[in-house]
């Protein structure tokens, strides 16, 4: 079995315009997704907006430089993730296609097995 990280990306500007009803609907869909794929989901969370992010890069003289904002500025920001387990990429994609999304999509990345 391989673990895959499903990264959920969405356009935050578009998000800001969502109504409370739309938000409630999305929460409901995630709850349903979580139940349906309980047996393969190993973890998952929603993230606060990119505006809350702090990035750290190596700084001069061995220190670090801390900046306000996400590591890379993109139109679609990372908004949440699921960690799942699957036999192969086909199986992982079948699950990933069912992740509820709004204003964006998902990226599926295999987790590097260091064992």
């Amino acid at each position: 079995m391989t673990q895959y990280l499903i990264l959920i990306y969405a356009d935050e500007a578009a998000w800001a315009g969502a109504t409370p009803d739309e938000n409630a609907q999305l929460h409901k869909e995630h709850a349903e997704f979580g139940q349906r794929y309980e047996s393969v989901i190993r973890g998952g969370n929603a993230l606060q907006s990119a505006a809350t992010a702090t990035s750290i890069r190596p700084g001069p003289a061995g220190g670090s430089t801390v900046t306000d904002g996400p590591f890379a500025e993109t139109k679609e920001a990372l908004g949440g993730y699921y960690l799942i387990e699957a036999a192969d990429l086909d199986e992982a994609l079948a699950v990933a296609k069912q992740v509820p999304t709004r204003f964006g999509g998902v990226e599926v990345r295999p987790v590097w097995d260091m064992s």
Partner: protein
Amino acid sequence: MTAHPAVAAAVADAHRREWAFVLASTVRVTRDLDLAEECVQDAYARALGTWGSTGIPGRPGAWLTTVARRRALDLLRRDATARRVLPLLVTDPALAPGTGLADDGPGAYALTGPASSAAAGSAGTAEARIPDDRLRLVFTCCHPTLSTEAQVALALRLLCGLSTAEVARAFLVSEKTMAARITRAKKKIAAARIPYRVPPLAELPERVDAVLTVVHLLYSTGYAAPAGDELMRTDLAERSLDLARMLHGLLAGHHEVTGLLALILLTDARRDARVDGAGRLVLLSEQDRARWDTAKIAEGAALVREALGTGPPGRFTLTAAIAAVHDEAPSFAETDWAQIVGLYDVLIRRWPSPVVALNRAVAVGFADGPGAGLTDLDALAESPELAGYGYLSASRADFLRRLGRTDEARLAYQEALLLTENAAERAFLAARLDQLGP
């Protein structure tokens, strides 16, 4: 090492016919594409040295597979995991080496049609249900999560056994670029766990279509090379014909597979007549039909009829049917244009595409006259997908020329010339432009 010419020829023949079979069977042992390739190359090199003294084996593919697998097992035993950079490929559990299943015999993997009952008839043994290893390799190379560029490169490299340098030459990129592309694709297959497996029945039509698209793309790249001095890349056309034949053998009962093989045969039948002695493009209307390959036409036409008889026709079958109407016409003037327009009408419903619409408009120009064709072409001029598509300008130019609208024709030919970098096509357009006079 200089091998006897007969041995060299036998090895070359086995390379062309059996590469995919030998590699696919070896991958099952190694579960590692690079290692398998290395062992298969080694087996071919040994054949060159050995067949001279032992004689050419009756089943070269089986001989090569045995040698390649033995080498793989040796290497695996010797340095266990040390040499492995990438994770093992994911395969069906039944296929782990040593289970004795599916011993190497090329066989058809039929899902519908008579061949499947034949398979079921062999007492329902496990072997009967296990598809040919080559299909696993085919579906892995043409996995939809790989870029199209990577899929075609892998098809040539892993299914046809071309070297990286040869694949690079086929796509007019540097060897370094191609090597990086192939390495990246192999890495994704292993690390992202693209399965080495035939997809489940429910996904099969879509996945078969993806495979056919790759083979068709190889053929069209060979048929009208986008750049370069030669109109056709015969090597690519030949390889795609080989692949289409292989798929037809492996996926009996999939009528689009039959349709694609027919299409390639029926188009390729005109190959020699498409270029004149000086390497210039010769249009269908001016081709010497005596130079068409009648054996290919007969085979292709029979396959089209077979494909049309087994269900609603797909895009390859319909395109092949159009090619068959051309191939069976005694002359350009006697072509059944009405039937061709009718086939395009069906095709465009099944496969709406601006390029199909363009070809249909050209057919209308012959069925109902250049004025009617031009009207249809001009309706397509707004289509963004056709912006910059040289055939649109070239077709307009031809209709305008036939209508005697010389000034407009001249402009259209000039536009077409700006849009192609193929030397043979450019020479053709320039000659037409010349004929229009100053």
